[in-house]
Symmetry: C2
Subunit: 314 residues, 2 copies
Amino acid sequence: MSRVAALYPNDTVTLREVGLRDGLQLVKTWPSTAAKRDWITREYDAGVRRFEVGSFLPAARFPQFADVGALIEQIDGLEGASSAALALNERGASDALETPLDEIVCVVSATEEHSQANARRSRADAVELIRTVVRLRDESANRPIVNAGIAMAFGCSIAGAVDPAEVLRLAEACLEAGADIVGIADTVGYAGPKQVGDLSAAMAKLCGGRAFIVHLHDTRGMGIANASAALDAGARVLDGSLGGLGGCPFAPGATGNVVFEDLVYLCETKGMRTGIDIERLTAVREILQSEMPGEHLYGSLVRAGPPPNLAWRP
Amino acid sequence: MSRVAALYPNDTVTLREVGLRDGLQLVKTWPSTAAKRDWITREYDAGVRRFEVGSFLPAARFPQFADVGALIEQIDGLEGASSAALALNERGASDALETPLDEIVCVVSATEEHSQANARRSRADAVELIRTVVRLRDESANRPIVNAGIAMAFGCSIAGAVDPAEVLRLAEACLEAGADIVGIADTVGYAGPKQVGDLSAAMAKLCGGRAFIVHLHDTRGMGIANASAALDAGARVLDGSLGGLGGCPFAPGATGNVVFEDLVYLCETKGMRTGIDIERLTAVREILQSEMPGEHLYGSLVRAGPPPNLAWRP
């Protein structure tokens, strides 16, 4: 079995916890390294296996990710767990390849406008960067999988509407450049379930038997409905963050990623086993509450818990 | 066209605002009659047409509904608008029939246990009450439609799991007793989207070309995903309450009804026109904020508003 199929089989649901990366991208305070380790350990004990833990960015500008290497080392020691981290340029990728990382995440914007504003490069250059990262990866000892995430895939805060055909074209270009897996991201929470279902179905077709990732934000309350539509359309890998951490710089007042706990509950009610114990998972919110007291935590399941008097898993 | 088909056509989506009834059922403070009138007027101006405005219950025990008749009179004067109100016994139905009410709502529990605990009658007696209400209605001058809502249709806080076949049997019994329309209610927010989609599809089949109502609570964050699944399965009439008002006595800490504003947005993103102006609608929350300052208002769309730079209605 290929390494990507081992990490992301397409016949069962896999949830990626991106709180340690996307959730900390914009915050002013963040957990200590010890608290982050505890976050990982306790989520691992709850059954979480796929962790996105940071970005390979200059620590002077992004001090919240200065400990990314230490977290990757930690996860390397956890049986069955895998680590992912962002690399936004060749330098970041080289740094990443010196760690025992399992998955290196690159980003391509769905629109030329966002690509230039966010990464100061064209979309074509972003695809070329993936090709370079794949080459560097192939020359490295560790050989993590390469994940190409398409940002603004459902609408762009700068360019507005995004043609799904353009997203599919970019997804194909990323795969052609050697990416092992592609993701579609609703970066600013513009999508509704019909749009997510339609693009997920097209991605499932494009990717054949391979898995793809759906990364959702709950900016307008559609997060769980969008996740449900993605699953119905054949998506099997979804991102979320504990407590819905992760605001967006382009949408003031907006919430962050779709809430991981609620996502687990959604999958389980659909009869899709996540391997995650919801009560142990929600208890990990304590770490965020004590380490990031200024951050509002989201999530609905935590208020009432699963139905107490029936077998709610079909 | 029958009166029920005029109120609830099955070829377009209709949203019922139940905040003035379900939203006020358990609160300790409630808006003045003047503020309730303002709530109705402003929602009407935003495009809302179906209002559930209270219950015909003894005013001594339920003072929040003492003005139900005045609100029904108000709505009677609004072109194209209709009023619904609960009647839980023959006395309530008789009182209701003395007003220009458009829709009288009766409740049947999906489980014998909840029926006895909540209404002190068997389910069979609840169905017989519908037959009586239909007869009283047929003898009345006003002739509102009769709506039979099946509470606990997706799981019961007392009895636990509920067999969907039992819900369908009850729905059929209500129609046989003369109900013009039947609803399925997730009273304690137990349902997930698969369950809601499956039962909605079965209800669509049972009801043939007639509409049926889906009444959801957002207790565990599945409200909008459940609504989306109901719509996908053919449901065309959904309940919601402004700001998600409406806690549940059986689920401490739980939120109330699915948020009306988010429900409007969901429908519109699916290309289903509601006729409701979202910005004017969300502005009506001001009334709840000033009249019920102790109540937590829910809703996600209100934080960010619809996507600002694209045509998000397909």
